[in-house]
């Protein structure tokens, strides 16, 4: 059991870094995560509300309660329409925020590079890190002797 627990823990240990990144995202823009969550909730709500109302409509029609069926169909179309619009707007907001987040993150990395002491910059491993992040283009690209 302990082995399985450990294996499970190691298999998903990368989420530790993922969560640390989500914390950074939260620090950079407090609205990114809530907007994403709202979008998820709206998506799931739309699916299950659709399923629930569809099943109710079928049962109502089978019971020959056509008027109730029409009302339920109206509610189904209406909620779908409203949730669809809501989701589209949220998706747009999320895209916009993601672009901003990406830019702020790059900015944050560049600021860190500029604040980094010279000694660290001369360290090959750290230099490699900087290049990986692509926040320091090849020096030939920005300056010449």
């Amino acid at each position: 059991m302990r082995k399985i627990k450990e294996k499970w823990k190691t298999s998903f240990s990368y989420h530790e870094y993922g969560i640390a990144c989500l914390k950074i995202a939260w620090r950079l823009d407090r609205s990114v995560l809530p907007v994403g969550m709202l979008l998820s909730i709206a998506g799931v709500l739309q699916i299950y509300l659709g399923l629930f109302l569809s099943s109710e409509i079928i049962d109502t029609l089978l019971r020959e309660q056509y008027q109730k069926g029409m009302v339920l169909a109206g509610i189904l179309v209406g909620t779908n329409f409203l949730l669809g619009i809501g989701r589209a707007r949220l998706a747009m907001a999320q895209k916009e925020r993601n672009v901003k987040l990406s830019l702020s993150f790059k900015q944050m990395l560049r600021e860190k590079v500029l604040k980094l002491d010279y000694e660290s910059m001369e360290d090959a491993k750290k230099w490699e890190n900087l290049q990986i992040m692509n926040c320091v283009p090849d020096s030939r690209e920005i300056c010449q002797r």
Binding site: Y14, H15, Y17, G18, A20, C21, L22, I24, A25, V32, L33, G36, M37, L39, S40, I41, G43, V44, Y48, L51, F52, S54, S55, E56, I57, I58, D59, L62, Q94, N98, V99, L101, S102, F105, K106, L109, K112, K115, L116, D117, Y118, E119, S120, D123, A124, K126, W127, E128, N129, L130, Q131, I132, M133, N134, D138, S139, I142, C143, Q144, R145
Partner: protein, 493 residues
């Protein structure tokens, strides 16, 4: 340095924060979906039968349908995890070898085919067949890789599709049994069948997202480590006294230094006081410790042993940025940026045009800049449409002007005339007095002749100051300085 090439580095890092956030959001949607569908499936399983045959009633019983559901999930889970595990390993192995091929291809395309300089050699030595042969072999490897990738994706899709279909069949079967056994209404069939389909699709979605999240999270690990790097340069809080008379006195107290990660002492027990407002030169052979001496002075590094004081106070106690403000430095490897010339000179400040022109004049490059159509506004280098290229000498003079513009009490010139022709070099020496005015200047050079105009010369040898004095005194002493001087002088005799 063991640096990786840009291609290798970029290949290793494929995601960014917003992509990771999006993946997590998609996973949250999938998990929410799974949770909702599980609740519905439990409700479905818990609905008791009230009609139908014995068999229908048996399979529709609460514990049996729950057991069936769990068994199907576990069965599919086991198949997926074992086969997907093998597939993922295969994918990883495939990807590991690929950057090497891509990198080599990029090398041939960028550095061999598209490079003007190599064109001559290729033609003169008739290298075309060799290059084509190399490219063919690389293309073949590349093609194989992509064929394997397509194959891999196909197998993954078949596996996912297959298990998904199995689950759908089971779902419809279970819901149909429940309807036939009277446990749920006909309309509820749509609800529960839909919920089961959602369950299957979203579990599959989570399985697809996890490797992606894993990849980016591990890439981001390097960034997180970088963001947590401590700043090794401790900064004090004492501000630098602003003195119009530029009376700043720097002193090395038994300073020794080895570069981090090495044991060899580059500077050994260096003690010296920099003469106020003097013109000093630091000379010595390559690797004698001259540039390291300057790096310590500018606090790019801290001494391994000993300490440096400014007006009697350890320089580590001063505010770092304020301390740096007392130096105007031109290093051998100065850098100019692809910004307007004015900004290159006035770095960090609004360009005071008159002052900038004055500094450019002192550095001997004013006329060249004046001839440019936009003057100080002219952008450097061809990264901009109207950018200009400066010759090595002109660029070095602009770098000197930048150091002068700072109007710092210490002017440090580390091989400032290395890229200059003899006439320009002579002009710089002639103007040196005017350039440094009442500041303390430190001049580092290999060319002994260029140190003659300094009134205090420090001779470095194997990390130590072995001699100090004026040109005449040092020649008379007939020591290291005299040896260096004579060694260079013989070429001009």
């Amino acid at each position: 340095m063991g640096k990786l090439t840009n291609y290798e580095l970029r290949a290793r890092f494929q995601g960014d924060l917003s992509t990771l956030v999006t993946y997590y959001q998609e996973e949250f949607t999938a998990v929410l979906n799974v949770a909702t569908s599980v609740v519905l499936v439990i409700i479905l399983c818990c609905s008791a039968p009230n009609k139908g045959s014995q068999t229908l009633r048996f399979f529709s019983q609460v514990p049996v349908s729950l057991l069936l559901f769990v068994m199907v999930i576990l069965g599919i889970g086991v198949i997926l995890s074992s086969v997907m595990g093998k597939l993922n390993l295969e994918f990883q192995n495939m990807q590991e070898g690929h950057p090497r091929v891509e990198q080599k291809l990029m090398y041939v395309m960028e550095k061999v085919l598209a490079k003007y300089e190599t064109a001559k050699v290729i033609r003169l030595f008739d290298m075309e067949p060799m290059i084509i042969r190399n490219l063919d072999s690389l293309d073949k490897e590349n093609r194989n890789f992509f064929e394997n990738m397509v194959n891999w994706y196909l197998r993954q899709k078949v596996l996912q599709g297959g298990t998904g279909s199995l689950f759908r069949i089971f779902s419809y079967l279970l819901v149909s049994i429940k309807v036939l056994a009277g446990a749920i209404s006909v309309g509820a069939f749509a609800r529960y069948a839909g919920a089961l389909v959602q369950f299957g699709e979203n579990v599959s979605q989570v399985l697809e997202l996890e490797p992606k999240i894993r990849q980016i999270s591990l890439d981001m690990k390097e960034i997180l480590e970088f963001l947590q790097l401590p700043n090794l340069r401790e900064t004090g809080s004492i501000p630098i006294e602003k003195r119009i008379d530029h009376e700043y006195e720097l002193e090395f107290h038994d300073v020794s230094f080895s570069y981090p990660g090495t044991e060899e002492m580059i500077l050994k027990h260096v003690s010296c006081k920099l003469k106020l407002k003097g013109k000093m030169a630091v000379v010595g052979e390559n690797g004698a410790g001259k540039t390291t001496f300057i790096k310590l002075l500018c606090r790019l590094y801290d001494p391994t042993e000993g300490y440096i004081t400014l007006n009697g106070v350890d320089i580590r106690k001063y505010d770092y940025d304020e301390y740096l403000s007392i130096f105007g430095v031109v290093f051998q490897d100065y850098s100019l940026f692809s910004f307007p010339i004015g900004e290159n000179v006035a770095v960090g400040e609004a360009v005071a045009k008159e002052k900038a022109w004055n500094c450019l004049e002192k550095a001997g490059v004013k006329e060249v800049i004046q001839k440019m159509p936009k003057g100080l506004e002219t952008p450097l280098y061809h990264y901009e449409e109207d950018g200009v290229e400066l010759s090595g000498g002109e660029a070095q003079k602009v770098a000197i002007a930048r150091a002068l513009y700072k109007d710092a009490p210490f002017v440090i010139l580390d091989e400032p005339t290395a890229a200059l022709d003899p006439i320009s070099e002579y002009e710089i020496y002639k103007r040196f007095d005017e350039m440094v005015e009442d500041k303390t200047s430190i001049y580092i050079s290999h060319r002994m002749s260029s140190c003659r105009f300094c009134d205090d010369i420090m001779v470095f040898w194997q990390g130590q100051i072995v001699e100090r004095g004026s040109h005449e005194q040092l020649l008379k002493a007939n020591g290291n300085y005299a040896k260096l001087w004579n060694a260079q002088a013989q070429y001009y005799a």
